[in-house]
């Protein structure tokens, strides 16, 4: 290990470490603009110059590009190096606008910082500056090319790291322009990272443009809960409004980056229709009245029908605190539930997936990056866990082989093999794979060769499109691959793993059955909207309508909120914080960011428009975290849990659910899965075998379909329309071409779709992505199969 001296301090670093990083390990931060740990050195800005006084190299050299070697003596403060850096700044500022007060980066700008640090304050060169014409890069990234200092970070991230090609470096020399061939929306779902990595105001965040300076916002470390990866983020709030989400570095989870769904999905918290005040039968009322009504209702139902007549529903997006409180409350009261999943099948699949993954060695994003063979089964990374696609790409860049078994036409920013298998065929392929190591070669050419030279394998597995037996098959298949293989599970929600661990037998479907049988008379819904993504809207509406009492605790303006008898608003993760367990079983905690309340919106002149109501606290601030509401309810019905605050919940949970809580935040839980009843599910017979009909597979896309981000107006401009994916041949036999508009009849409504075709889609399958249409808002029942008579041209 090389030993070197930096500013008189000796340090030993692993071979390959750059001098700039070695210095940082000592706490010496060498100024830099182009170097970025995830992107590596570019040697473009010349700002990291230091003096090498002795050792293998000598002179003023770039510390970002030189590897630490034995015997180096480095000075970061040598007058020669200091004056060199000073000149670099002066050159950079020659063309840079001197107008930080009107630049949105001002206050958190790396260039501003190093310029001030260098002492440069007077422009000596009197000539004109280089100027560019800006482009419109879409709704997320604001470009101001005059501020560019040519560090190449954006190009290196966008093309090399993320693998998208529509944005890049154009031109040469001082005219180099970072943009697209023509104005247009950036194609990458990771485009927001440009904002984070650009060290100047050349690329800034468009949605929060000119809203607040960095020192004016309330900021706190938080988590992204828009998928199961649990990326770490920093959230900024200003005037009671969430204004920006940025990536927060966590080397174990997301690294430096996040996806655009996570970055711009926050706006549900500012939604104009967000429930802000408790309401009884749609009438706003005071906090105490709503609680009193809820208590009275619960007591009445209990008196008349017993505690089992109260069903409790929550979901995969509830925080661990809420889940634990709810589980304890149900135990204490004897209520039915809590149900975290839609139906038995989903519950079993989630448990099974957790069990299979945990027993085979669970993998997270880091393991994916290090793998040399990646097999994707039943997952569309870009749609279901966007940042996973970037991790796969990093592995691929290092030479990993990537294959996918999924009926959807998956798109990834890399070259990979895909076989559009589904159902029986998929089962058969996995069986073959489980029997013989090279069994997958038939469907994925190149598999065997890749397998032979592989040392670390990751199988990415999701529960949405594969059925229970395929999931189990996958487990066998991975055991066959041996020790070097791990499973990377992709769940649907941010807290699915905890939900499957805490679930009893109840699911929403089983509660609904009991509602129909008249056994359940009241429903308590905690941060759950059974209407979201439902295929059985009609049935659902009928069950909800037949209830005597519906209590909803939520922060979304969801459909079930509109139908609540008693509505109690709850706090989002931004006001209440919370703990979540991500897909690899990592327990993570989010801090509250601000107090909340109805945002003070500005008008176009920049004037604030406070809501004209007068109260002691900020208007709309009554929301409490759902677990607080639950504790209060419990207390009032005489079933207090003896819990006061979060610390208490954690303490109790540590005793009661040790498998979830015996780690410090940031660590991985020790649950081993389990509780999967083998006999739970009888396989459904395949209705399309005999008929002309196509089976329907409902899927979601990156920016449409995820529950929270659905309510974020920031994502509206990039949401896709409803799409129907057909097998290419089948479609052309029917005279349908890519881009055609069709109607599909479902029950008594006709839903518009745009046709997509791909040879990967199995011929007996029709894949429907409701996009921004939200199919379930109108369709009473989404058919399991669809025939050609139900499809017509628009």
């Amino acid at each position: 290990m090389p030993r070197l001296t930096i500013d008189g301090q000796v340090i030993e670093v692993p071979p390959g470490t750059k001098v700039i990083d070695a210095a940082e390990a000592l706490g010496i931060v060498i100024p830099r603009l182009c170097y970025h740990p995830a992107l590596g050195p570019a040697g473009a800005c010349r700002l990291c110059a230091v003096s090498f006084l002795d050792g293998p190299v000598k002179g003023v050299l770039m510390s970002c590009s030189i590897e630490a070697r034995d015997g180096m003596v480095v000075s970061t403060e040598h007058p020669e190096a200091v004056s060199f850096r000073k000149q670099v700044i002066e050159w950079l500022m020659m063309n840079h606008p001197h107008d930080c007060p009107v630049c949105d980066e001002g206050g958190h700008c790396l260039l501003q910082e190093v310029t001030v640090a260098s002492g440069h304050c007077r422009r000596r060169y009197p000539g004109p500056k280089r100027t560019f014409v800006d482009q419109d890069l879409g709704p997320f990234v604001q470009q101001e090319m005059n501020r560019c200092i040519h560090c190449w970070r954006c190009r290196r991230f966008y093309q090399d790291y993320a693998g998208y090609r529509d944005f890049g470096a154009l031109g040469i020399g001082w005219r180099t322009y970072f943009g697209r061939a023509t104005s247009g929306v950036l194609e990458s779902p990771f485009s927001g990272n440009l904002v984070d990595i650009c060290p100047t105001g050349a690329l800034t965040d468009k949605p929060s443009r000119f809203m607040a300076r960095r020192w004016d916002v309330e900021r706190a470390p938080s988590l992204c809960i828009h998928c199961s990866l649990g990326c770490n983020v920093t959230v900024s709030a200003h005037l009671r409004e969430i204004v920006q989400v940025e990536a927060r570095y966590n080397g174990d989870v997301n690294g430096h980056f996040i996806c655009d769904r996570g970055r711009y999905g926050f706006d549900y918290a500012n939604h104009p229709l967000r429930p802000r005040s408790p309401a009884v039968m749609g009438e706003e009322t005071s906090w105490s009245k709503a609680i009193a009504q809820a208590v009275a209702g619960i007591e009445e139902v209990t008196r008349a029908h017993g505690p089992k007549a109260i069903g409790v529903v929550s979901s995969e997006r509830a925080s661990l605190e809420a889940m634990v409180t709810l589980s304890l409350l149900c135990e204490e009261t004897g209520w039915e539930g809590p149900a975290f999943f839609q139906d038995e099948e989903t519950l079993v699949k989630n448990r099974l997936l957790a069990q299979v993954a945990l027993s085979h060695g669970i993998a997270g994003l880091r393991e994916v990056e290090k793998a040399d063979l990646i097999l994707i089964v039943g997952t569309d990374p870009i749609c279901e866990a966007p940042l996973l696609a970037l991790a796969i790409r990093q592995a691929w860049r290092r030479g990993a082989w990537v294959g996918a078994l999924d009926p959807r036409p998956i798109e990834l920013p890399l070259t990979f093999e895909q076989s559009g298998l589904w159902d029986e065929e998929l089962k058969k392929a996995l069986l073959k794979g489980a029997q013989r190591e090279e069994g997958l070669e038939e469907v994925l050419p190149g598999w065997k060769e890749a397998l032979d030279r592989s040392r670390e394998i990751v199988v990415i597995l999701g529960p949405t499109v594969v059925d229970i037996s395929s999931l189990r098959r996958c487990g066998e298949f991975v055991s066959k691959l041996g020790k070097k293989a791990r499973i990377f599970p992709v769940f649907r929600g941010p807290n699915s793993l905890a939900a499957s661990a805490l679930s009893r037998e109840s699911t929403f479907r089983s509660l609904a059955r009991k509602i129909r049988e008249g056994k359940i008379k009241a429903l308590l819904l905690v941060e759950a909207d059974p209407f979201h993504g439902t295929k059985m809207r009609g049935e659902l509406e009928a069950s909800i309508r037949s209830l005597e009492l519906t209590i909803v605790i939520d922060y979304l303006p969801s459909e079930v909120v509109k139908r609540a008898h008693i509505l109690i608003p709850s706090a989002t993760i931004y006001e209440g914080g919370g703990s979540f367990i991500n897909q690899e079983g990592r327990l993570q905690r989010a801090s509250p960011v601000h107090r909340g309340g109805i945002p003070l919106r500005r008008n176009l002149q920049g004037n604030l428009r406070p809501p004209r109501t007068f109260a002691k606290g900020p208007p709309g601030e009554t929301a409490k975290s759902s677990w607080q509401v639950l504790l209060e309810l419990g207390e009032r019905i005489g079933k207090g849990l003896g819990i006061e605050d979060k610390e208490d919940i954690w303490k109790v949970a540590r005793e009661r659910f040790p498998f979830l809580w015996q780690v410090e935040p940031g660590g991985r839980i020790s649950w081993e899965g389990g509780g999967v009843q083998e006999e739970a599910m009888e396989e459904e017979e395949d209705p399309s075998q005999s008929s002309q009909e196509m089976r329907v597979l409902l899927v979601t896309s990156t920016f449409a379909g995820e529950e929270l981000s659905q309510y974020s107006s920031k994502l509206d401009p990039v949401r896709n329309e409803a799409r129907a994916f057909f097998n290419e041949e089948v479609a052309s036999q029917r005279g349908l071409r890519r881009g055609d508009r069709i109607w599909i009849r479902m029950g008594d409504v006709r839903v518009p779709f745009s046709v997509k075709t791909s040879p990967k889609v199995p011929s007996k399958l029709l894949i429907l992505d409701p996009g921004n249409e939200g199919l379930w808002r109108e369709v009473r029942e989404v058919s399991k199969t669809i025939g050609w008579t139900e499809i017509e041209r628009a």
Binding site: P128, R130, F132, L170, G171, R175, G179, A181
Partner: protein, 168 residues
Amino acid sequence: MSAVGQERMIEVVDRIPEEELAKLDPIIAKYAHRPGYLIPALKEAQEIFGYLPQEVQTRIAHGLNVSPSYVYGVVSFYAFFTMVPRGRHTIRICLGTACYVKGAPEILAKIEQELCIGVGGTTPDRRFTLVEVRCLGACGLAPVMMVGEDTHGNLEPGTVMDILDQYK
């Protein structure tokens, strides 16, 4: 210093009729789906059109299966490629050190004034395009300019236009 100013990355050029664009098809057929042959393809395209407008670039991008931004990046990188029509003769006036001290600025001023164009400009009759270069390697003859492939040295403001008159 006339090169400073609004650096337009996207030139709005006249639309090219479809039948003109079709001339690209043999080139595209030759290099279809071979992104590595982008530069020869662009070179041949420039031989046909004399320059590489946006539509030509887009068509080549689709033909070779690369993104339009990538093609644009290459075109804007190499001085050899141009996105605006050039004149029949390119005047390369040397502003290198030797030429500069021997009076190149006066020569340049004279040409600019007579042709009514600045550096980088093209005369409306597409006869001349004027560009500046740094040192043509003929400092002994300073001040020097090239017109097309011909080098002319020892220029004087009074006679430089006579030289240009030879090029029609």
